[in-house]
């Protein structure tokens, strides 16, 4: 056989191998994109989508004269989760934060968690966004604080709340008695997370509307509550 004939035969063999390879790749593509699509979408959603509940603000407790005795305030805390264990990296990140919020004094709260800033002013949060997307160790967590007028006897009468996953539940006094009214109904949402568990912009979807907590108006006045305690 002459050289050209050998070349032609061998070139054809290479071409056939390449075409068969492409056909196999197309087959695998078809398998995932059409034949087993539902299975892999379900598996993917399990990793990427999160369902969560949220409550709107807890209702206020008001005396019969309209004086607010208990209300909720929302704060944002900045936390650092030490993923790498590198002190140099931690210090570098803290320095960046200090440039944005001078005077922050990070405090270690557990083995891997540092409270970097307690109760950040909401206006600084947008300035922290680039830092949060670059350093996945940083997280902003909302915190609800129940405030009660500064009379010990009123505080005792109104009672206490407990915070679980950002939600307040009454555990004593008026807070416990009227918890179902003050709470409202939880809303539900789904959101898509990226590999670092950050929310993907534009993926948040409300699946059930939340009902805000209602205010509870007491039959007693602030003075009467204080007096009740003195009489006892």
């Amino acid at each position: 056989m002459d050289d050209n004939r050998i070349f032609q035969k061998r070139a054809l063999a290479i071409l056939i191998i390449l075409v068969l390879w492409a056909a196999a790749a197309a087959g695998a593509f078809l398998h995932y994109a059409l034949l087993k699509r539902d299975k892999y979408i379900r598996l993917g959603n399990r990793i990427a989508f999160r369902r969560g509940t949220f409550f709107l603000s807890r209702g206020k407790v008001i005396d019969c004269n309209g004086i607010v005795l208990a209300w909720t305030e929302k704060y944002y805390d900045l936390l650092y989760f030490d993923l790498s264990g590198s002190e140099a990296r931690r210090q570098k990140i803290f320095n960046y934060i200090n440039e944005i919020m001078p005077g922050s004094l990070p405090e270690q709260t557990s083995e891997n968690v540092w409270l970097v800033y307690l109760g950040m002013p909401p206006r600084v949060i947008p300035r922290l966004v680039p830092l949060l997307s670059r350093y996945h160790e940083l997280k902003i967590t909302p915190r609800h604080e129940r405030c009660i007028v500064a009379y010990p006897e009123v505080k005792k009468y109104i009672g206490q709340v407990k915070e679980t996953d950002g939600h307040l539940t009454g555990i004593s006094g008026i807070e416990k008695k009227y918890d179902h009214i003050l709470n409202g109904a939880a809303g539900e949402y789904t959101v898509m997370l990226d590999r670092h568990k950050n929310w993907i912009k534009g993926s948040w979807k409300l699946t059930r509307k939340a009902v805000p907590g209602k205010n509870v108006k007491l039959k007693l006045s602030l003075e009467e509550i204080r007096g009740m305690s003195h009489e006892k």
């Binding site: 290479i14 593509f29 995932y32 994109a33 598996l43």
Partner: protein, 379 residues
């Protein structure tokens, strides 16, 4: 005006029977490049500046087309006669990148010059094939010349493996096999290459545990879906999300957050998510279309040197593209190889265009006829 344009086009095509095939090929290559720009845009559409990478890629595409036409205009005799010089320069670059190169993603494979990154292993591909053709055509093909060619190929693959860029080294080794086979090499010689690949592969797996982990993750992604199986899993999910017609461009969440290097290593999966099976299948068909056209061009290329170069270079292009697609459809373990003409990267884009330019130069009948008198011609 219209008639004179038609006449000039007709005369250009009639000058060479392969010319119309070359022109169709160039059009297909350009379409693939545009497809890549769109995919790169989609991979960062939820980011801050989605046009950043896509705009740069469009620039590379334009520059690449220009380089392809220049490389095509240069007589193939020039490449043949200066093969050792050209390959020597590329080899020096491959060696020096190991010392002077910049490390990106754990690989020391780039020169950083004024903010631009140049990857010598990409530019080495067309010159490596040229060198193998030159060495192979200058000798009678027997066991001695096989050993010599294998040593030349190994000398090129070692610096690439030291970067370490195992994916590119695999493409080089397959390029060597195709060139040797096209030169008329014996089948049992190539069986020796396959036999040698077994201990080499075992050694690489032993020395590079991350490659071993990729293989384990590929074979059983369920075993460690958040670790070794992560990449394979994300490819599967991206293809499934794309379905038949894809998701809307702004909703390519997998391409924007889960796929590893969505604009380069996972560009096919990005296209699959955005355009679905209907939009990504044409990429495979275009690659096969180019392969068939170039194969037919090679049959009419005149002499053995030109034919082997065309087939060798075509094989490097098609093999790299098919490895990338196979990885993205979870048919092969992740290799980190880009999809030529579509993945983001100036070096890959320009070297592919230069490679095709040399292919078209080799296929050009005008220069084939003049080859005998090339030595006395003025360039």
């Amino acid at each position: 005006m219209k008639n004179s344009y038609r006449k000039s086009l007709k005369s250009m095509i009639s000058r060479s029977p392969a010319m119309h095939k070359i022109m169709i090929c160039q059009a297909l290559i350009f379409v693939l490049g545009l497809w890549g720009c769109m995919a790169i845009y989609c991979s960062d559409v939820l980011g801050k500046s989605p046009l950043h990478y896509a705009g740069k890629q469009l620039l590379w595409l334009t520059l690449g087309m220009a380089l392809m036409f220049i490389a095509q205009r240069i007589p193939f005799g020039f490449y043949r006669d200066n093969a050792y010089w050209l390959a020597g320069a590329a080899y020096i670059m491959l060696l020096s990148v190991l010392i002077l190169g910049t490390k990106i993603n754990g690989m020391r494979g780039w020169f950083s010059i004024g903010g631009a990154y140049i990857q010598p292993s990409e530019f080495a591909k067309p010159l490596f094939i040229l060198l193998l053709c030159k060495v192979g055509c200058a000798r009678k093909i027997n066991f001695k010349s096989f050993i010599f060619l294998a040593l030349v190929a190994a000398a090129w693959m070692i610096p690439i493996m030291l970067q370490p860029d195992i994916g590119t080294a695999i493409v080089f080794s397959l390029g060597f096999i195709v060139v040797y086979w096209m030169l008329g090499g014996k089948g049992w010689h190539l069986m020796l290459v396959l036999l040698a690949a077994v201990p080499t592969g075992a050694f690489i797996l032993w020395r590079c545990p991350y490659i071993m982990n990729r293989v384990i993750g590929f074979l059983n992604p369920e075993l460690d879906p958040m670790g070794n199986g992560w990449h394979v899993r994300q490819f599967q999910f991206a293809l499934a999300r794309g379905g038949m017609f894809g998701v809307k461009m702004g909703k390519a969440a997998w391409a924007n957050s889960y796929l590893p290097l969505a604009h380069s290593d996972s560009v096919f999966a990005t296209i699959a998510e955005v355009l679905g099976f209907a939009g990504a299948m044409p990429v495979i068909l275009l690659i096969i279309g180019i392969t068939v056209l170039v194969y037919r061009i090679s049959l009419k290329a005149g002499n053995n040197f030109r034919q082997v170069y065309i087939m060798g270079m075509l094989a490097v292009f098609a093999i790299q593209a098919l490895i990338h697609i196979s990885v993205n459809v979870a048919l092969l373990p992740p290799t980190g190889l880009t999809l030529p003409l579509l993945s983001y990267g100036g070096s890959s884009m320009l070297s592919t265009f230069i490679g095709f330019g040399i292919i078209f130069s080799a296929a050009s009948r005008k220069f084939t006829e003049n080859e005998e008198t090339y030595g006395s011609q003025k360039l």
